[in-house]
């Protein structure tokens, strides 16, 4: 698995789209802080607006990165030389986790520095901001698992773009859950969806531990399901 992880990371570093994603996270962090300052909005929680946009872009770029293994048939080279399927899946999952989380970490670091310079420390309660960052990062990681799952099970370029398509209904559910507070089942469903967690971070998260737990369950379910499906899958 380490060999495959090394190859994946090497390929990722070579690709312009993945490098652009990392750059975009830094640009958006500075831009977000500037816009907040210009609007006279002296809160740090505006920094949680952009991770949702970032994760949608990452899901498309990350999904296509994995699905390229199928469209270019390079996955055959890995299987033919004896790599185990679980190893191939896990290497892809770790690559996606790095691809999703590292730029978001860059984003938060840059955003924190920019906010500190432009807004100052007043607009934030340290523990609440850190709680939100933790919820966001774990949710982003859970979405990386969904992206890997779809790209590895659909086995074509469609699997690469499916994650971003799925983001919209998930986002719609979270908006509906906000609007229709009385509908309990909608709230329960949204509690489980990482996109909803990220979407609700514009204010301090009321229950970060629960959201982190749900995101971890989401991650575990999709990773285990993806490995099980890939181990039995007939490829071309």
């Amino acid at each position: 698995m380490n060999k495959l992880l090394r190859v994946n990371l090497k390929l990722m570093v070579r690709r312009k789209d993945t490098r652009l994603c990392a750059g975009l996270s830094v640009v958006l962090a500075v831009l977000g802080a500037l816009v907040s300052k210009l609007n006279g909005n002296m809160t740090w929680y505006d920094m949680f607006e952009f991770p949702l946009i970032l994760v949608m872009i990452f899901s498309a770029v990350g999904g296509l990165f994995i699905s390229r293994d199928y469209t270019q048939n390079t996955i055959r080279n890995k299987l033919t030389v004896g790599h185990k399927r679980t190893g191939i899946y896990l290497a892809n999952q770790i690559t996606e986790t790095i691809f999703f989380c590292v730029p978001v970490i860059f984003y938060f670091i840059t955003s924190a520095i920019a906010n500190f310079i432009l807004i100052g420390a007043k607009g934030a309660v340290f523990s609440e901001v850190m709680g939100n960052i933790a919820v966001c990062l774990i949710a982003v990681n859970a979405l990386s698992a969904l992206t890997t799952f779809l790209a590895m099970t659909v086995k074509s370029s469609a699997g690469g773009v499916l994650p971003i398509i799925l983001m919209y209904p998930m986002l719609m559910l979270s908006v509906l859950a906000e609007a229709l507070e009385d509908v309990k089942w909608l709230k329960y469903v949204c509690d489980f969806i990482p996109v909803s967690h990220i979407a609700s971070l514009m204010q301090p998260d009321k229950d970060p531990a629960m959201h982190i737990c749900y995101s971890l369950i989401f991650f575990a379910l999709f990773t285990a399901g993806g490995i099980a499906a890939f181990r039995k899958a007939d490829l071309k």
Binding site: K3, R6, L11, Q72, R76, V81, G82, H83, L235
Partner: protein
């Protein structure tokens, strides 16, 4: 005889379609094994199963004596290189970078042998040209180089000359022969371009409708395809006595059917047979090539 690959009663079912129906074949060590069959006969399915890309529904195979159910099969696959249908290469990398990636996939940190590989397949001077800008022949050669990473003992090529121009076909053929002769690599090559296969193969496996209908060496095939006079007689034993007396090279190919590998004087032959109390019912000149042999083996019906 040592066998690199043996399959036994291999079956593969896709929903309603049975692609392999108890396929049993044996690939001898050091051979160029021509795997001949029509489109949809099951050639690629078998290759995918051997490469671990798909799973068989039932049956088994052995690679270098290791069974497919054994956990060591993954490790054993490192002794094998394959091109399944289309070249599996990274289009946005150069030829050298592609090989570096394959070395990394295989966990080989020393890239020093890459130049030799590129020279072997004739891609040493491609420089910074990306694989996506290669011609089909160059991509195919790069795929062969990728398959050769790790010095495999067995190479599996699925339709390696499909879509190549005549020059490309010659180059690939010479490369395959060179690999077999100089490096003693066993090669399993599937193709339906029979004339080309006839220039390469030392052994043949004819597949039809998901099972092997016949396995034979190139010498056996040559014998089977030798120009002969085929006679259908009333009494085979009597005919054999007459033919022995006339000192002809012959083979009894079926009940009362004899192939004579000579140009006999038909009048004298008929007289000799008549003397032994045997009549000639029919007499035809028989001359087959690989294509004709294949058709006579699997029939000429469409497999649609």
């Amino acid at each position: 005889m040592d066998y690199v690959l043996k399959t036994k009663d291999l079956c593969k079912q896709y929903k309603d379609f049975k692609a392999l129906k108890g396929l049993t074949m044996n690939v001898p060590k050091g051979a160029i094994y021509g795997f001949v069959g029509r489109n949809g006969a099951g050639k690629t399915t078998l290759i995918r199963i051997i490469c671990g890309i798909q799973f068989s529904t039932s049956g088994s195979f052995e690679l270098y004596g290791v069974k497919d159910s054994d956990s060591a099969i993954s490790e054993t696959r490192r002794r094998m290189g394959a091109i399944v249908e289309t070249p599996s290469i990274f289009p946005y990398l150069t030829a050298r970078e592609n090989l570096e990636m394959q070395y990394d996939i295989m966990g080989m940190p020393d890239y020093s042998s890459i130049d030799g590989l590129l020279e072997l397949v004739g891609l040493k001077n491609t420089g910074k040209k990306l694989a996506k800008n290669f011609s089909l022949g160059m991509r195919q050669r790069l795929a062969i180089a990728v398959a050769l990473c790790g010095n495999p003992d067995l190479l599996i090529f699925d339709e390696p000359i499909n879509g190549l121009d005549p020059q490309g076909i010659i180059e690939i053929r010479e490369l395959i022969l060179k690999l077999n002769k100089e490096r003693n690599i066993t090669i399993l090559i599937s193709s339906h371009i029979l004339d080309e296969l006839a220039k390469l193969a030392t052994h043949y496996g004819f597949i039809d409708n998901g099972s092997i209908v016949r396995e034979m060496s190139a010498e056996e095939l040559e014998t089977a395809c030798r120009k002969c006079v085929r006679i259908n007689v009333t009494d085979c034993t009597a005919a054999v006595k007459a033919l022995d007396d006339m000192e002809f090279d012959y083979k009894i190919s079926d009940e009362n059917v004899i192939d004579i590998y000579a140009k006999p004087n038909i009048t004298r032959l008929a007289a000799a047979l008549s003397k032994e109390g045997c009549e000639i019912l029919s007499c035809t000149e028989h001359d087959e090539n690989l294509e004709g042999f294949f058709i006579s083996l699997v029939g000429g019906d469409s497999n649609e």
